[in-house]
């Protein structure tokens, strides 16, 4: 399902002096089944952008095409469920949306709202709890007895259980420990390999380098750059304006470059970096 933004502008509370601009003339395409990362400073419009994809926000002008569905400023609030079933959304700190008395019921909540029969929803819950790395024993427990990381996994399972085609992630690993972080990111990569479109909002450039295929840079409500992570991290103009920072491997490579190492383009992952170093030490 391809997502396309056409000259989308969004301003909050347009007829009020307390208003603010959320998005300014954003046009872009998010490819089907791709892993897209959106980066940018706090307040640059990332969250506003992704909330348009499942019509939680509607544009002030312009339109968004999600598959064959078109969202315009006039889009009605009725009949949005089919769209929201296709576009799953994991918000920042999703554990704050848990409310049922058992984990199972909470995971089944989404699917049931989207009209999936009770039995199928239960099957989905049993399947998804394992996908997110917890055992089935957790299904009978209260979500409020779990640790923060486990609650996060339950919340993610609750979104995946509706089997959305597109998954939007708003800093899904914020506040997790390094191991949990990697597990969750690997889980989303796996979802992509199963044919889902992934859109990730993040401040972690290493995640972008390791997982994303396309990278979008937002600044001051505008879309400033789109490209592969490799190209964007090598864009000196963006770096000079401090719109992006570099992943660890690229920072290390920059330091090596001062010590007689030469890189045609900055390596952005550990693997690329080690391959380059090996080649430069032994290759000559």
């Amino acid at each position: 399902m391809q997502i396309e933004f056409k000259n989308v502008t969004h301003s909050y509370e347009s007829n009020n002096p307390l208003s603010g601009l959320g998005l300014a003339d954003v046009s872009c395409k998010i490819e089907d089944k791709a892993f897209t990362a959106i980066v940018g400073k706090t307040g640059s419009g990332k969250s506003t952008l992704v909330r348009h994809i499942n019509a939680l926000l509607k544009p002030t002008s312009g339109e968004i095409k999600v598959g064959d569905r078109v969202i315009t400023p006039e889009t009605n609030n009725k009949n949005l469920k089919p769209l929201r079933k296709q576009v799953g959304m994991v918000f920042q700190f999703p554990e704050s949306q848990l409310f049922e008395d058992t984990v199972e019921k909470d995971i089944m909540f989404g699917p049931k709202n989207f009209g999936i029969p009770e039995e199928e929803a239960r099957e989905a819950a049993h399947k998804m709890i394992k996908v997110v790395g917890l055992s089935e024993d957790y299904l009978d427990r209260s979500p409020f007895d779990l640790s923060g990381g486990q609650m996060r996994r339950v919340a993610i399972a609750g979104v995946l259980a509706s089997d959305p085609e597109t998954i939007i992630l708003d800093e899904p690993t914020a506040g997790l420990d390094p191991v949990g972080r990697k597990e969750i990111m690997d889980l989303f990569k796996e979802q992509q390999q199963n044919g889902k479109t992934i859109i990730l909002i993040t401040h972690n450039m290493d995640d972008v380098a390791n997982y994303a295929e396309t990278m979008m840079v937002m600044h001051d409500s505008r879309l400033r750059a789109v490209g592969t992570p490799k190209d964007i991290f090598n864009d000196q103009d963006l770096l000079d304006k401090k719109l992006i920072s570099l992943p660890q491997s690229a920072v290390f490579a920059q330091k090596l470059a001062k010590k007689n190492f030469k890189f045609e383009s900055l390596p952005i992952t550990i693997n690329e970096l080690t391959a380059e170093i090996k080649q430069q030490i032994h290759g000559e």
């Binding site: 009725k78 409310f99 409020f144």
Partner: protein, 266 residues
């Protein structure tokens, strides 16, 4: 949630903004009191003039005040119509069954309409030009005499300022939770009454849970910074009573005197 003007603060700068919040707070209540002294056209016109003058020097756009009226519109209409049609009179101009329209009734209805405008405008003026934290400071300062009867003034003041501090936070949290549940297929404001009420469970439970956890974290953070109880703490935000506040008090006394004089004017 964004439509309510009354109770909102609007950043700005003018004479009214710089007044001592305690004075503003008391004067607002005092003014609401003396509105009931007015009893004829001249006195109401005088008060209206004063309120519009206050709005003018506050430099806040009048459209905010008119928006502030909107949520009260039905109450105003209801009261005004009730007065107009149910005032007993010996000389009704128009009359049907138990309804009668008379000159006296219309005049009283008009007065009540003006009274509503006066009270809503002046209280909107207070909240638009005073930050919530200033209001809670002035409440603390005004309640101070109650210490004599062992009323826990500083605890109440702390409660107030924490509550005010968390209003925007909880509104953000509510919007966030609503968005998250919407993304999971909840429709707010659809279906019958029971269904609508039920659709609020997925908001209220997470909201309560997060409020309690915020309260717990905040309490720990306060204790670890040396908070024991309200007593014996110094104050960082100090309110200054200045010359212009004295002038406003004099103006209020003058208004009261003029009003008393106009009352007996026929």
């Amino acid at each position: 949630m964004n439509k309510l003007i009354l109770g909102r603060y609007l950043p700005g700068d003018s004479l009214i903004y710089r007044l001592d919040p305690r004075g503003k707070f008391l004067i607002t209540f005092y003014f609401i009191g003396i509105v009931f002294l007015a009893n004829n056209l001249v006195s109401y016109a005088f008060l209206l003039l004063f309120v519009f003058f206050a709005v003018y020097i506050s430099k806040v756009s009048i459209s905010f005040f008119i928006k502030g009226l909107r949520p009260m519109l039905w109450l105003i209409l209801f009261t005004v119509l009730l007065q107009a049609f149910f005032t007993p009179s010996n000389h009704p101009i128009w009359h049907w069954a138990f309804l009668s329209l008379s000159k006296e009734g219309l005049v009283i209805a008009g007065y009540i309409f003006i009274r509503f405008i006066l009270i809503i405008f002046i209280s909107t003026l207070l909240t638009l030009t005073t930050t919530p934290i200033e209001i809670s400071d002035s409440i603390e300062s005004i309640l101070k005499p109650l210490r004599v009867i062992k009323f826990p003034v500083s605890q109440v003041a702390l409660m107030l300022s924490i509550a005010l501090r968390f209003v925007p936070l909880l509104i953000d949290e509510t919007i966030k939770i609503m968005d998250a549940q919407r993304a999971r297929g909840v429709d707010f404001g659809e279906g019958g009454l029971i269904k609508r009420i039920k659709s609020f469970v997925p908001i209220l439970i997470p909201l309560f849970v997060s409020s309690f956890s915020i309260a717990y974290d905040l309490a720990i953070a306060m204790e670890s910074r040396g908070y024991k109880d309200g007593e014996g703490r110094t104050k960082y935000r100090i309110l200054h009573w200045s010359k212009r506040d004295n002038i406003t008090v004099v103006v209020m006394i003058a208004i009261t005197v003029v009003l008393l004089f106009l009352r007996s004017y026929k």
